[in-house]
């Protein structure tokens, strides 16, 4: 796969071009994600049986940033809603609320997921890590520092999600290539277009983490 949007762009001999379409021939992603292959085989913790009525709140316990939090939730509350509104952890942002932008990215059992597409009750019994969880006391974590040092944001709205995506990527693959970084943050849109800085921050973060 080419390293920019022009990469591997023509389709056969047809020479098809059409303004507004950038054709991406998808072949790179498979080999690029090889590094994570070992993780795929892990077995899942299976949560216990549960019944909740509509519109009633039920007490559940969520494991967030190393601590158990008991909380009353409705079945329809998303993890994003509970983090922000019940726990006041506003580091996780709400963007599209439809799985398209990545602002709400958190780690669940160390793996990046969208909190807006996750019911809070489905996150029971799993380890949830949010932006706040990457701090140690008042100190920023390595990925956060890398974003700061590389100026990897403009308005900053997408930044918490980008940081969580990079954190998840580096936990799985401590030495990602540029292409692996691009894939790793491909679920996080930046309206300000700070991508080149974000990619650089991810590389910097990999270095900082190694120290």
């Amino acid at each position: 796969m080419g390293s920019d949007d022009q990469g591997n762009n023509d389709v056969g001999r047809s020479g098809f071009t059409r303004r507004g379409f950038i054709q991406i021939m998808g072949t790179g992603a498979v080999s690029a994600s090889l590094a994570g292959a070992a993780i795929a085989a892990r077995s899942k913790p299976v949560p216990p049986e549960k019944v909740m009525d509509a519109e009633n709140t039920v007490k559940i316990s969520l494991h967030v940033n190393g601590a158990q939090h008991a909380v009353l939730v409705e079945s329809r509350w998303t993890l994003l809603y509970v983090l922000r509104e019940a726990f006041g952890m506003t580091g996780t942002k709400e963007g599209c609320s439809r799985g398209e932008c990545g602002a709400c990215t958190v780690l669940i059992d160390g793996i990046p997921r969208y909190a807006c597409m996750t019911l809070a009750v489905e996150a029971e019994g799993r380890r949830i890590t949010t932006l706040e969880g990457l701090m140690s006391g008042e100190q920023l974590g390595p990925v956060q520092n890398a974003f700061l040092e590389e100026d990897a944001y403009q308005c900053g709205y997408c930044t918490p999600g980008q940081i969580m995506a990079v954190e998840g990527l580096l936990r799985k693959n401590p030495t990602p290539s540029l292409d692996e970084i691009r894939i790793g943050v491909s679920g996080n849109l930046c309206r300000c277009g700070a991508y080149t800085h974000i990619f650089r921050a991810a590389q910097k973060a990999a270095d900082l983490k190694k120290r």
């Binding site: 047809s14 054709q23 991406i24 498979v30 809603y81 799985g99 990046p112 489905e122």
Partner: protein
Amino acid sequence: MLPSFSYVRPETVKDTVKHASARGAALHAGGTDLIGCLREGIMDVDKVVSLSALADLYGIRETADDGLTIGALATITEVAENPLVRNKYPGLAQGASEVASPQLRNQGTLGGNLCQKPRCWYYRGEFHCLRKGGDMCYALAGEHQFHAVFGHDRICVITHPSDTAPVLAALGAKLRVAGPDGGKTIAVENLHVPPRDNVLTETVLGPGEVITRIDLPRPAANLKSSYRKVRARRSWDFALAGVALALEMDGDRVENSRVFLSGAAPIPWRSRSVENVIRGRRLDDKTIAEARAAIVENADPLPGNTYKLELFKGVIEEELSAMGRPE
């Protein structure tokens, strides 16, 4: 805020089937499609039945006869990265790695990917179109540049959004399904429903029917599989045009082939015309030129999406050329 619903997470498949058989119940696997549909008011759901406590639905294992069985709850990431999948069915690993974004692959499951709702913008928007029980297809007369060029019969012109379904169909995968009437097996190629049979549903699954596992037959020693997808942007996007190939080679000749297209039709679209052209032939320039023509045979493009025909020709040419090259 989502509309309210009751929630149940049973520990046995039997209880799951019972809960899911009730009117207004919907299964929840990874939730990446279901939550979106609830938020957009596409489905009327008063009970969400979670599959996540069903231990039998997890894991990817080799079977006694050298095939593979994939739990319906295996995530798309697990499918894409599993070494057995990558070795035996590289096309499936490619298909899975082309789905959505990393976060959605980490959360979405293979079973859910096969049963996801269409992505037509009228359907996802506020239009009460044919597929939602209304009386017209808005896309047919309106914006349809990403819609179907085959198999729509000008009834409903969605394309099936799954990147895994065409590969699973090409590989001859079968679904194990639990339901109110006991267990049954459905070939993936027979899972999806074309609009002319019933425009109101996407799959043949009835109320209470749950996919438990996806079984792949033992790969023939000479099997080569691949999936290629063209999309409009580099970050996540659905297929504009895609081709899944499962070819059994006899030396440099194609002995058997199964060819399914994505981004083409309301269901994963089998291209028998390409299969007929390449069967028994070497993948040389002449065969490939004929396959280019064959792939668009019987197409019924709409005014706004004829460009897809050129894409399909290009993709089949590239994919067959790659297959024909000695390793």
